[in-house]
């Protein structure tokens, strides 16, 4: 049995859950559990049904995508405080990349079916969580755009 109080404290300290109404936070903590993984352990795989949604407490996750003939490429790492597995709550509920722990990982994860059901039935919860998920996704999008700009690339210089 999880220690829900400890979980709640951890959650409240995270960016994702900070500032939630107490009842909503309790409801969320009720759906949460501790999760840990060893370095190298794969959390989920690109294209598979997305079942793992949570917040990194300690350690780092690499998001990778498979490029034929180049193997898995790390496109982003997830730092403590950030969420992972947001596709669990966004249709069609399939992972958009593969995730691997690259450091000893401690996280809080939510039961996928449970949170989807809760967000369908509990307007308060949905209203509190969806903006946070949107923020997480939009940050991811902005960071990706900046990466696309390849700002540090060497200028293509011709002979002159």
């Amino acid at each position: 049995m999880e220690d829900q109080t400890a979980l709640l404290a951890e959650l409240n300290a995270s960016w994702f859950a900070s500032g939630l109404e107490p009842e909503t936070a309790m409801r969320l903590a009720g759906l949460a559990r501790s999760y840990s993984a060893e370095p190298g352990q794969e959390l989920f795989r690109e294209g598979d049904p997305s079942e793992l949604f949570g917040v990194v407490i300690r350690g780092r996750i690499a998001l990778r995508t498979l490029v034929p003939e180049r193997g898995p490429i790390t496109i982003l790492t997830i730092e403590p405080g950030d969420v992972f597995g947001w596709s669990t709550v966004v249709p069609p509920y399939r992972s958009t990349s593969s995730a691997t722990a690259i450091e000893p990982l401690e996280a809080i994860v939510f039961d996928a079916a449970g949170i989807r059901a809760a967000m369908r039935s509990d307007c308060q919860l949905a209203l509190a969580l969806y903006p946070r998920i949107m923020v997480a996704v939009s940050r991811r999008l902005n960071a990706t755009r900046l990466q696309l700009l390849d700002l540090f690339a060497a200028e293509q210089v011709k002979t002159w």
């Binding site: 300290a13 960016w15 900070s18 780092r60 690499a62 193997g71 898995p72 490429i73 790390t74 496109i75 982003l76 790492t77 730092e79 403590p80 405080g81 950030d82 690259i102 450091e103 940050r139 902005n142 960071a143 900046l146 990466q147 700009l149 390849d150 700002l151 540090f152 690339a153 060497a154 200028e155 210089v157 002159w160």
Partner: protein, 662 residues
């Protein structure tokens, strides 16, 4: 009506006015020549009145006047023998005080040895004959810009000191004149040695300086009559009435700067050919560029400074592109500088209302119309912003010798230089040096470390000049000017937590900051360094990064944009390292350096994490050539990045930060 009988004899008072008979004008010319001066004055050449060398009164235009309108200039015959019955032509006096091309220095490279020898001019003694009120104002503006500030142009000072100015009151105006609006004319009121008002029989002569008084005493003049004085004043009053007041200058700075997004900028860019004629015809425009003049061996090179124009696409170009890539940006730059930010920089207008930019615009664009369309008159007081001073600098290149080289990344090298100018020992964090090899354009390079007897420069070989610098070996020499620019505000960081966010070679200008912090660790709170690079191999100063994070007590976070499996650190943009951070920003200050787009994203993330704009500092890259605010290339709104920066707070920059085409 003045009916008093005029005094027919006697000398004028010390300053005049005296009356010089028409036939005696030659005496004035002779006196000036006897003083060893070359006379420059109006003369007709190829259907136009230009300023050129003249030898006698015969060379002056006789009985002609000019008809001017936007994009059109013609000479007409005028009744009588008047010598000054026209206004200003295409030439302005800056041709002599600030010539189109000036050799700055000569450099040679002989094996390792590099020498730069400043070129010193012995400017000729000149007399300007026939300067108008708007032109005296223009000389005053250039005096202010080129020798009235902290940094001065020694060439200008020498040339200007050798000029004696004989002014002339205007007796007519062109349709393009608007000195009345700019408050510079038409009355000649000061800034001359002698001034002339042409009347039928001769000239009223007034002295405006000691030299002028001495000349006046030697001229065959008599005291002017009241009728003559009245007549001269009436003529110029008539000119004022003719011109009217086409532009309301009151509050123009603010009105203009509030209209940076006005659709008219794009409309005028449809007509503007961006040829640059207006800027070079303008008597106050001072922008220049440096050209390398080399012999075929490349061993002997001269740097030549030439008139440049903010209308040329390459003017604001840095590696990677131009900051003002669209014609509309360049037109806006010119107009807002001339009528707006010139006030911020020099406390004066940049326009004297001479109308040259209107007449000599080949397609007849009229700045008065553009100003009235973009910034119609409403009254606002202009805000004067004080510019923070920066360190003093020599005006010549000194040579320094490479004593160590270190390959930081495949294309980046850190050079340790010794024998630098002693000023570098007093240099501060964030400053840069203008670095030159003979034959190559000098480049601004951030100082990446200060030593007691030298500096380090970290150089990425991106173009031919930087490649040549990055290829320097031990004992090779290089030319330096500096240290230039302002500092990171480390004094504001004392007792605060400091966040340093940087990417790629952007760590170089921040390395002296880190050096200072480590040397005085207790004066600062938590210091977090967030550093991003393209790949792990592109991280600079890797051994030091390691040391800073362990021994030196900094919180170092690294990230890369792309990495192989051997990299277990963060992957992603540098903002991601702290965009989740829940930290206490109340006492935090941030220093940011990287590509401009990266700095924008960082500033916005920092703002979201609670660091105020007034405590978020960035260092900007612009096209810098002179390094001291005298060549115009790095202008950004009201700032010269080289002189007022390169370090700015986000609050200082306001909405110009990240705006296209500023």
């Amino acid at each position: 009506m003045v009916t008093t009988a005029p005094a027919r004899s006697g000398r004028p008072t010390a300053d005049g006015p005296g009356f010089l008979g028409r036939d005696d004008l030659g005496v004035l010319l002779d006196l000036l020549r006897d003083d060893g001066r070359t006379l420059i004055g109006p003369t007709v050449d190829d259907g136009t009145i230009v300023y050129d060398e003249i030898t006698s009164v015969e060379d002056l235009p006789h009985g002609v006047t000019d008809e001017q309108s936007p994009g059109r200039y013609r000479l007409e015959n005028r009744d009588g023998e008047r010598l000054f019955g026209y206004v200003v032509g295409p030439t302005s006096w800056k041709r002599w005080t600030f010539p189109p091309a000036v050799e700055l220095n000569r450099g040679t490279r002989d094996g390792h040895r590099v020498t730069f020898e400043a070129t010193t001019v012995k400017p000729p003694k000149l007399a300007f004959l026939g300067a108008r009120a708007c032109e005296l104002a223009a000389l005053a503006v250039q005096d202010r810009v080129l020798m009235g500030g902290e940094f001065v142009d020694p060439d200008y000072i020498l040339r200007r000191a050798n000029v004696l100015v004989v002014a002339v009151q205007c007796m007519t105006s062109a349709s393009t004149c608007f000195c009345t609006s700019m408050g510079t004319g038409p009355e000649v009121t000061g800034g001359f040695d002698l001034s002339l008002s042409e009347l039928d029989g001769g000239f009223l002569v007034t002295a405006g300086s000691t030299a002028g008084r001495e000349l006046l005493e030697r001229l065959p003049v008599r005291a002017a009559t009241a009728a003559e004085k009245y007549g001269a004043a009436a003529v110029v009053a008539g000119v004022r009435a003719q011109i009217g007041d086409p532009v309301t200058v009151d509050g123009l700075h603010d009105r203009l700067m509030a209209q940076l997004d006005h659709p008219r900028w794009a409309q005028v860019a449809e007509r503007c050919i961006t040829c640059g004629n207006c800027t070079l015809a303008c008597p106050t425009c001072f922008c220049t560029g440096i050209t390398q003049v080399t012999d075929l061996t490349g061993e002997n090179a001269a740097m030549e400074r030439r008139w440049d124009s903010c209308f040329s696409p390459g003017f604001a170009r840095v590696a990677g592109g131009s900051f003002r890539s669209r014609p509309r940006d360049r037109y806006r730059q010119w107009l807002t500088h001339k009528f707006g930010t010139w006030w911020d920089q020099f406390g004066t207008t940049g326009c004297t209302g001479c109308g040259r930019c209107i007449t000599w615009c080949p397609v007849g664009i009229d700045v008065r119309e553009e100003l009235n369309a973009i910034a119609p008159a409403i009254s606002l007081a202009p805000e004067v912003v004080l510019v923070e001073p920066v360190a003093a600098t020599p005006n010549d290149f000194v040579t320094a010798r490479v004593i160590a080289t270190k390959q930081e990344t495949p294309d980046t090298v850190t050079l340790t230089l010794t024998g630098t100018d002693p000023a570098f020992a007093r240099g501060g964090t964030g400053q840069f040096a203008m670095v030159a090899l003979p034959g190559f354009p000098p480049l601004p390079i951030s100082i990446s470390r200060f030593h007691a007897d030298g500096i380090e420069l970290t150089i990425r070989g991106a173009g031919p000049a930087t490649r040549a610098m990055a290829a320097l070996q031990i004992d090779d020499q290089v030319g330096l000017r500096g240290p230039l620019g302002n500092n990171w505000p480390l004094d504001r960081a004392v007792g605060r937590d400091l966040v340093i966010v940087t990417g790629g070679i952007g760590l170089a200008p921040l390395r002296p900051v880190i050096d200072t912090i480590i040397a005085n660790r207790r004066r600062y709170g938590d210091v977090k360094l967030f550093y991003g690079a393209r790949t792990p191999a592109d991280l600079h100063y890797r051994a030091e990064l390691e040391r800073w994070g362990t021994r030196d007590g900094l919180d170092v976070s690294l990230t890369v944009d792309r990495a192989g499996p051997e990299w277990t650190g963060p992957v992603g943009v540098v903002t991601q390292l702290f965009d989740q951070a829940v930290w206490d920003a109340s006492n935090m200050i941030a220093f940011v350096c990287g590509p401009e787009r990266m700095m924008q994203a960082t500033a916005s993330t920092l703002a979201g994490r609670g660091v105020p704009a007034s405590r978020t500092y960035v260092t900007l890259e612009r096209h810098m050539e002179c390094g001291i605010g005298l060549c115009g290339h790095c202008q950004m709104g009201k700032y010269f990045v080289c002189r007022d920066g390169p370090v700015f707070s986000i609050a200082q920059l306001g909405e110009i930060f990240g705006r296209e085409g500023i």
